[in-house]
Symmetry: C2
Subunit: 388 residues, 2 copies
Amino acid sequence: MRDFEFKNPTKIIFGKNKIAALAKEVPANARVLILYGGGSIKKNGVYDQVVAALKDHHVEEFGGIEPNPEYETLMKAVRLIREKSINFLLAVGGGSVIDGTKFISAAATHSGDNAWDILEKSIRTEEGKGMPFGAVLTLPATGSEMNSGAVINRSEIKEKRTMGGPGLFPVFSILDPQVIHTLPLRQIQNGITDAFTHVLEQYLTYPAHAYLQDRFAEGILLTLIEVGPRVLKDPTDYEAASNFMWCCTMALNGLIQKGVPTDWATHMIAHELTALYGIDHARTLAIIAPSLYKYKFENKKDKLAQYAERVWGITSGSLEEKAEGAIDQTVSFFHQLEIKTRLSEYTDHYQGTAKIIAKRFEERGWQGLGERRDIKPDDVYQIVEMSY
Amino acid sequence: MRDFEFKNPTKIIFGKNKIAALAKEVPANARVLILYGGGSIKKNGVYDQVVAALKDHHVEEFGGIEPNPEYETLMKAVRLIREKSINFLLAVGGGSVIDGTKFISAAATHSGDNAWDILEKSIRTEEGKGMPFGAVLTLPATGSEMNSGAVINRSEIKEKRTMGGPGLFPVFSILDPQVIHTLPLRQIQNGITDAFTHVLEQYLTYPAHAYLQDRFAEGILLTLIEVGPRVLKDPTDYEAASNFMWCCTMALNGLIQKGVPTDWATHMIAHELTALYGIDHARTLAIIAPSLYKYKFENKKDKLAQYAERVWGITSGSLEEKAEGAIDQTVSFFHQLEIKTRLSEYTDHYQGTAKIIAKRFEERGWQGLGERRDIKPDDVYQIVEMSY
């Protein structure tokens, strides 16, 4: 096991009808900015519950945060914060709204002139530095409700950047699994795929004698395989929905990545597909991941075989056969969720994508991706081409 | 899954030679009281590392906290804190020292006249209220390094009481698995047994559709079964030791108990054996647990069968046969750790114990133990008698 530090101070409030808890979780004298996305919360009853809970608070609101939160939009919220002397943020939405709120939290307290530096120069927000914020999660997927990271988009330059720091954990997050039955099927499919791939990024590397972390990762995968199809069949199945929701949080709250090597190359490459074609984040992961596992098969085959045995119950065959079987099962699982796994199924203009993405990686001077930092632009080219 | 709240703000610093991190983790201007037990830290090098790391801090020390921390001893530390204007505590030891430090943290900031009230009246220490403290863990077992609970002894009245509250999480805990090879074998045996039983208390109840929590609990059990015998055979096996240490923490940091029913009757009954005969805490758990599972077999057989299948690989037989097999395997595992599982193996004066303990429970007016609160004094009598 590798050395690690772990601290996650977010308070999780999980269960039915918990949005009312906002009344006491948001500081009484706070000037609150409610942040949300396209307005679905005004149709599914969440907005009304939030407003009712905060009836004794000073509240402003800011809607319109995009599915891939846009720098320009978020900067409008930062200006509103200054104008209205806001001192507490409340994200009401999915990973994009919470990610966007993290950027706003950092930018509103950033001492430099140019908030873009936070993304461009990867400036971390230290403990106690970001503007405090809570979250009401309406879409289980990214784990943003219990971590301190975010991904922000800047369309004008077709860039998608990661950011974070220990000052950007939500103070609290409210998780009511009942919200799941109000979601479009497409978003539930995305959420399951996203959480599943988050686990794989932290698990499908090489054996690192972190036996407990492996068991936890496998536990999340096994649970998603059990409940994912159940939630899609019947989103009102509370037992399935609540486990799905808790899996998404645990998949990326830092716990399973402690003491182990992590990959994240699938995410780095897949982000480019969203930037280029606007494909849903989760679906870009399902496009890239299987090709990446095949391409880096020698690096990953030991863990792939363990994954085959413990998660998919593949107990016969050579190590390589098991490992291949695990990749096949992963693709089948995505298909079972009705997630397509080929770029050509999403865009007719896929030819040349490998070259464009490899070139972008080369231009940025990135030193190598993956758990061994050995995926260079040429390898990215191969992986993307294998994903057509 | 049941509704739950989860917040655990303790920072874990895990790995080789991490004690040096104290220099920056303890606030620079703190007046520190180092708390420890019988002095083993002065022989194994831990004390020297702590003192070296804190060479620029104002430091006082207080040793002699007992294996079952004594109220009277701890109150001496509280007086020392007032005398020396201490404002930061550093527990250097195992669960007893950390538990003792939690009581001291609460007592030093208790506004009432009588600190015994904290235990007698179960006064919780709210967030921000206890005196801040960190820990250097020298003995993996209880999980006290990442939770906010404690068990305190008062020998003069033969009472062992639990206490806690959200204000009693360590600010940080330093976990260096290298300490394990300095421990007596007996303490390693105890640690494995203690952590294993902690998981069972939160897992062997009845199915509650908390699939992920079940997987995590099973993951800890599987890992302890894998690494426990390895650590006993060779405590310098860092891979085994580090996983053992992390299992102990995860077994009782709150995570696996969220959303599920919990039992804790084994602990409540076993505490009496320590109070009466001074038997090591972990060993009292191994005495009581198997009898309790047999006595409450109807309540627990569904989870026992799941435990049999997923942890012990028992896949054939009826549900009852699997469940019985799981109890047998648990006893065998304790025996493999060289932990005796019968009260008569620890004391010749075991006759009458059941009556004494049942009477104590009756006198306290306890309403019923276990996940269904259906274990009354008469049942306690039966369970203890089955454990002779």
